[in-house]
Symmetry: C2
Subunit: 71 residues, 2 copies
């Protein structure tokens, strides 16, 4: 799942990814994610905003925490 | 940090929280989070949208994965 999501988005923290994606690519990602996840146990939540101006992002602390990979 | 964030927001997955919060409460949460985190190593990312209509949320799979607590 990490590998799949990284192909479409930027990995920002643990199981959180972010990025600009076209509707077609998002559909593709959604389908591929469904193939590898067990929908009875796993969950994937997609927050989307059509316009990046509508979403503010604030980072406190380190922008990229490389230690996350060991968590 | 989990305890702190749960006081202000809903816990949705691992280290991800979501909810409606007033600017005053957000400021309070930001300050308290800074007190308990090591800003050289830890990171907190706040995505905010002033209007919930600007943000779409789609859940694939389980809405609440109780197994997350063991990860």
């Amino acid at each position: 799942m990490l590998k799949l999501c990284r192909r479409y988005l930027n990995w920002i923290q643990n199981s959180v990814f972010e990025g600009e994606i076209s509707p077609v690519k998002l559909k593709e990602l959604r389908l591929k994610a469904k193939e590898i996840m067990d929908e009875d146990y796993d969950s994937l939540i997609i927050f989307s905003s059509r316009n990046s101006r509508w979403l503010e992002k604030e980072i406190i602390g380190q922008e990229k925490n490389n230690l996350d990979i060991f968590l």
